[in-house]
Symmetry: C2
Subunit: 110 residues, 2 copies
DNA sequence: CTAATATATACGTGTGAACGTAAATAAGAA
DNA sequence: TTCTTATTTACGTTCACACGTATATATTAG
């Protein structure tokens, strides 16, 4: 694989990660892992404004991590690929490791 | 788990993802998955300026995804948790899925 | 068609990230 | 100490993101 190709893939890879790099979008993805939801359900469950929910869903849709399906007035958003949740779970384990290491540090001070 | 706690965890989770949300940092992490490297090796292998390499390594160090160890004049950076690579690989699979879907779309046009 | 509801967007603002260039710090060699 | 190499940071610029508020679009009900 030549350099230009690798850089382009890394760029797309980074854009996918950028889609995950917001606490509200992470909350939305976990909420959708329980099943499809419309904007109203998301904004109520996660306590964010309608505009905020819509905008974050747009980001997730544009990065192809969620799909949409209209049902009458409502538009239901669903998770496009469960591996996104698996990746998030792995990173959550990494986070737990970091925090427990910091906890050990904190205790060593005393 | 109450709301404030969940939001704080999601925030930390997002900051970890933010650390992955750059093509050069992704390239660095994959390079380090082959073994520890110093700044010079990274800047040469990945063709980026010294300052850029240092700054990205600083981001990765501050998010605790890499560790450092001094060896004489050089400072060697190493991957702190291999699960980061596992998560990146999962997301790369997701990316492959998205691209193959787009390829199918492209072919359907003709 | 008109009203009502669901979703999406425009505008303005504030904040933070990434970069190149140049200067600063740190450790080892002479 | 002085020189050299490795790493890091400061400065200034540019660009992208997230948000609240207000407005626009789209679908269904009456």
């Amino acid at each position: 694989m030549d350099r230009a190709l690798r850089e382009e893939i890394d760029q797309l890879h980074a854009e996918l990660c950028q889609g995950l790099a917001d606490s509200k979008r992470i909350a939305i993805l976990y909420a959708l892992s329980d099943g499809p939801k419309n904007v109203s359900e998301i904004m109520e469950t996660l306590e964010m404004s309608r505009a905020t929910a819509t905008r974050h869903l747009k980001v997730l849709r544009e990065s192809a991590m969620v799909n949409t399906e209209r049902d009458g007035v409502s538009i239901y958003y669903s998770l496009a690929d469960k591996r996104v949740i698996l990746a998030l779970n792995l990173l959550r384990e990494v986070l737990a490791g970091i925090l427990s290491q910091r906890k050990a540090l904190a205790e060593a001070i005393l």
